[in-house]
């Protein structure tokens, strides 16, 4: 039976590169995929591209390609990534220049285009926002980006044309991994059961280190060896869409049925209906079985027909966020932090801020606890709110800072921060309204 090996080189935009290089060098891979595009990342990239048409792709693209290309070329491993972000075309050109500089000739690089649907969305003010049910017109002229989550088709087309490196913008994360399976095994785009299996594999791989013990390790309950040197995962998958997941021997981390189960359910809702542009995957009957150290067999994923719509992520400017923090120590530090919070609250009242939040870090900032431990000897007050102007947002941190001389005794270590808020909402648009195409270049 035909089989192939796919590795995962990154789980987010700023991920570590070292494990990817180890995987490329020793993983005997046919493909390596780098998932580098979070929900909001593309909106920020669109903003950047507006200021400079030669920017808007992943910030680490050059850093990564410099190291990846020579290895991938030597090992005959194809590279698929969404590092193109808002500008796959420019990312393609930059990658070609790097390949040339490294003395690699004949490398075919593809850019998958068409996910940018800003113009279409701007003309469709009557679309409903999925999260709130409101019409898109409510966002007025604040929209800065609209990108459809494309499926695997564009990448498959590029692979068919012999591309060695495929760079996309917004593409559904598992589709990056599913595309090479469809291409290599010749699966039909209507064979939803197999597409569901491949999507499950993509979902296991898309967060890279997370299935290898990253975001898993606990103290003695869930020990993970050499997490500092975590390896990234690869799968060996057969043409039926089943196989094993593993990592390179000698790397840190762990792959077992527990890490696989956590990753399977990561960021999914109904396990029987995991929506992607390629299919509605069904993970509800998936089974994992350990076949040795860091070796887990997966089976029984499935799938149904995909929806007729693409999900579109819309980025819009949503005001400014202002933040200030200050620490209190010693007996009654919690009460002094509370007093400080009340003072700042009064001073900020006239600004009409939104979502004003007072958290005491160490006590109630990340969990819903409402305990008041007597022996807590330090606590950090955090004040954060949204404002409609940068000026107002700055005032939040400033009022925390003035606690130094105008608040309770012993406050220290003030930090302040402001940032523009780029928020994201989603809409659905019919698939036939989106035209994708692929561009090529050769080094």
């Amino acid at each position: 039976m035909k089989s192939m090996r796919i590795g995962s080189g990154a789980g987010y935009a700023g991920d570590r590169l070292e494990p990817a290089l180890t995987l490329l060098d020793q993983g005997n891979l046919d493909y390596i995929c780098f998932e580098c595009l979070a929900e909001r990342t593309i909106a920020l990239a669109q903003k950047e591209k507006k200021n400079d048409p030669k920017k808007g792709y992943n910030h680490l693209l050059e850093y990564r390609m410099e190291e990846i290309l020579p290895l991938a070329f030597a090992r005959k491993t194809k590279v698929i990534t969404n590092m193109g972000a808002a500008n796959p075309l420019q990312a393609m050109q930059v990658t070609r220049e790097i390949a040339k500089r490294k003395g690699i000739t004949g490398l075919k690089i593809a850019a998958v285009l068409g996910d940018d649907v800003l113009d279409l969305v701007k003309r469709s003010q009557d679309l409903k926002i999925l999260e709130t049910g409101q019409y898109l017109s409510i966002l007025d002229n604040r929209i800065i980006s609209a990108n459809a989550y494309l499926g695997s088709a564009g990448i498959i087309e590029a692979l068919k044309q012999g591309a060695d490196v495929v760079i996309t913008g917004r593409t559904a994360d598992p589709s990056l991994f599913l595309a090479p399976m469809i291409h290599e095994f010749g699966w039909s785009m209507e064979d939803f059961e197999k597409l569901g299996r491949g999507t499950m594999v993509g979902h296991l791989l898309e967060c890279a280190g997370q299935v290898c013990g990253g975001y898993f390790a606990d103290t003695d309950r869930k020990t993970v060896p050499d997490l500092w040197n975590i390896g990234f995962p690869f799968v060996e998958i057969d043409e039926n869409g089943e196989g094993i997941i593993s990592k390179v021997e000698g790397t840190g981390g762990i792959i077992n049925t527990a890490t696989c189960t956590e990753q399977l359910l990561y960021e999914i809702h109904d396990p029987a209906h995991y929506l992607t542009p390629d299919c509605t995957a069904d993970f509800s009957a998936v089974e994992f079985e350990s076949e040795g150290k860091d070796l887990v067999r997966f089976r029984k994923a499935s799938g149904k027909k995909a929806s007729d719509f693409y999900k579109v992520s819309i980025g819009f400017i949503n005001g400014f966020l202002g933040e200030g923090q200050i620490s209190y120590g010693g007996t009654d530090c919690i009460a002094r932090a509370q007093l400080a919070a009340e003072i700042v609250k009064k001073r900020l009242e006239k600004l009409a801020l939104e979502d004003v939040r007072f958290e005491r870090i160490g006590l109630n900032s990340i969990t819903p606890y409402h305990s008041h431990p007597q022996d807590l000897l330090e606590v950090r007050l955090r004040v954060c709110a949204k404002a409609d102007t940068l000026e107002k947002a700055r005032k939040i941190g400033q009022e925390v800072e003035t606690l130094y001389t105008n608040g309770p005794y012993g406050g220290g270590g003030v930090t302040q921060n402001t940032e523009e808020v780029i928020s994201v909402v989603s809409v659905l648009i019919p698939k036939d309204k989106v035209k994708t195409h692929v561009e090529y270049t050769v080094s």
Partner: protein, 99 residues
């Protein structure tokens, strides 16, 4: 006994919706968490964090329950003023639940 003694958990976020996967170390304990960790108990335990409903999905072959918490992220990671915008820490807080 605290839930953490028999189970582990992972939270994820999507839009304004959080999900927490709860997985037993030993599949023989699945029946127990299925009985004790109901939608209602999770909603009560997390208090005003979850503004919408809590929905539970069962995966007995994996010893896992997946809880989907609607309106639990103050608008979501791209607009929340929370320190833990993803609310990833909710998974560890769920494990503090007495059963």
């Amino acid at each position: 006994m605290k839930l953490r003694e028999i189970a582990h958990a992972r939270s994820g976020d999507k839009g304004n919706i959080s999900n927490i996967a709860l997985i037993v170390f030993d599949k023989r304990d699945f029946k127990l968490i299925k009985e004790k960790v109901t939608e209602k108990r999770v909603k009560d335990w997390l208090g005003d964090v979850v503004k919408g409903e809590v929905k539970r999905f069962e995966l007995p072959q994996l010893g896992a329950l997946n809880f989907v918490l609607y309106e639990a992220l103050d608008g979501g990671v791209t607009s929340s003023t929370q320190l833990d915008k993803h609310r990833k820490s909710l998974s560890s807080f769920l494990l503090e639940m007495p059963i």
